[in-house]
Amino acid sequence: MYGLCDCNNFYASCERVFDPSLEGRPVIVLSNNDGCVIARSNEAKRLGIGMGEPYFKLSQTIRQHGVNVFSANFALYGDMSRRVMSLLSRIAPAIEVYSIDEAFLDLRGIDPKKLDRLGHTAADTVRRYTGIPVSIGIAPTKTLAKIASKLCKRYPKLDGCCYMYRQEDIEKVLRKYPIGDVWGVGARWERMLLRCGVATAWDFTQMPPEWVRRHMSLVGLRMWKELHAEACIDFENNHPAKKRIATTRSFDRPASTLDELHQRIAQYAAACAEKLRRQHGLCGEITVFIMTDRFKEGAPQCCRSRLVKLSVATSSTLEIVGHAVALLKSMFSSGFAYTRAGVILSDIRSDDASQQDLFDTADRTKHDRLMTAVDALNAGFGRHTVGIASEGREPFRMNRNHLSPKYTTDWEQIIRVKAH
């Protein structure tokens, strides 16, 4: 059996742990730079606030319903996530961290009669130790476990764990489960399936496998089998290294000159390079994009992105910034008010397998030593102590007007307890 543990409205729940007055009240969390909504409490969902909705469009709803607004506090969320994952890994024989608020549990080899109890214990322990409510689904495959966990969220009576294993139970659930909510079904497949009359997960399981194979490739067939309780998505014990690393931001005020963009792109590229080195990776592709505000009607719109494939994979800030800035220059045009830009590293592999290139001109060992020193300085003396000149001296400040304290990662910001 497989389990999936999903933290309920994770970011909002983190804020609630340290401010219990938020319990039962609508809470939303905004993306970097307070751009748009990235998390909502159930109360906020009920007000009709959508995922990804731009913040500036919500001012009336916020005022009218007293919605509590937070800027994303990733230092806090990251620490709380670490706590949750650490507890799960003690309870389950093995876990696979799937995202900041989700982990698969490998429950193979455990007596099936004990699983209901184990799931409830896990949910209860995480809740008590960290204050974060979770929904655990347990089922014969990962795909079904995801569905079980969703069910668990929908029915509070299940008390944190839904163990779904009997054929007739699974059928009952799948008959009501919208196909679009199945793990792996994106908007395109959903549209296609609905056109073919497949509305629920059950309808999908009734399609002949050859049809699935033809229209949805092996990936779709795997999904079909998983829904038939045949496990075919592997369990990854180790955190798979990220396949893409991105740093993207909305600006607090528009930028229209190359100079302004240049500095920002250099900063984002440097941030990406640091993340890349932290996971001991090398990247083979760099993408840069710049765009104007698509919500601003009447303003001239421009959205460009460009990718470069490197002949030798690298993790050097010098090289990555150099390529990113060159990409920017190659596609920049003036006359637009840019409001968002980003750098994305892809084709990432581990740094122990870089292939040598005959035409490689950079002195790699020297770069490596330099980068190790830069990372150490920045870790010891704070971000942006050392950087390369084109990053500029002052980082562009992100708008984070509703940031809660770093309760768990900064001695100056820990919880204050009144003794009066």
């Binding site: 219990p20 007055s21 706590r83 949750v84 650490s86 507890l87 008590r128 130790y129 960290t130 204050g131 309760y407 768990t408 001695w411 820990i414 919880i415 204050r416 307890v417 009144k418 003794a419 009066h420």
Partner: protein, 145 residues
């Protein structure tokens, strides 16, 4: 050949204890090993002393003097463990009237009392059945002298 005695016995390792072995640091070269190696026990780690449940432990800073009778003063750092269930007379962080407060918690049969350690402050009484909950139990206090 006596089969039974030849047979390999397999013992399963026991995984549920949490003992760490001390490491001998000095590597063995030709020459004299350090006479202290046999006595090496690893250095003392304050974290291991005060943090029993790492995932459930949070730090908090005291503001005010209502617990001064117990020697707890402004600026002291509390080691709060959310995994520990509240018990009668525990020192705890509770959430009351929109703020975190530090008190001794008396759990009597018909009510809960939040008792300060300073005569200038009142005892707060909480009727059973109200949705009061202890946020975490204080296990240690870190104090600068």
């Amino acid at each position: 050949m006596k089969r039974d005695e030849d047979r390999l016995k397999i013992y399963r390792p026991q995984h549920d204890t949490d003992i760490e072995l001390p490491m001998a640091e000095s590597t063995v070269h030709a020459g004299f090993p350090s006479p202290a190696d046999d006595f090496l026990e690893g250095s003392l780690d304050l974290d291991r002393l005060v943090v029993r449940h790492p995932e459930a432990t949070f730090f908090a800073r005291v503001e005010g003097d209502s617990m001064i009778g117990e020697g707890i003063a402004e600026g002291d750092i509390l080691v709060v463990d959310k995994a520990v269930e509240a018990y009668d007379n525990c020192l705890a962080v509770a959430y009351v009237d929109g703020e975190f407060t530090l008190k001794r918690v008396r759990m009597l049969h018909d009510k809960i009392l939040l008792v300060p350690a300073n005569p200038r402050y009142p005892t707060i009484e909480i009727a059973t059945g109200s949705d009061f909950a202890v946020w975490g139990v204080v296990r240690w206090i870190v104090k600068r002298v």
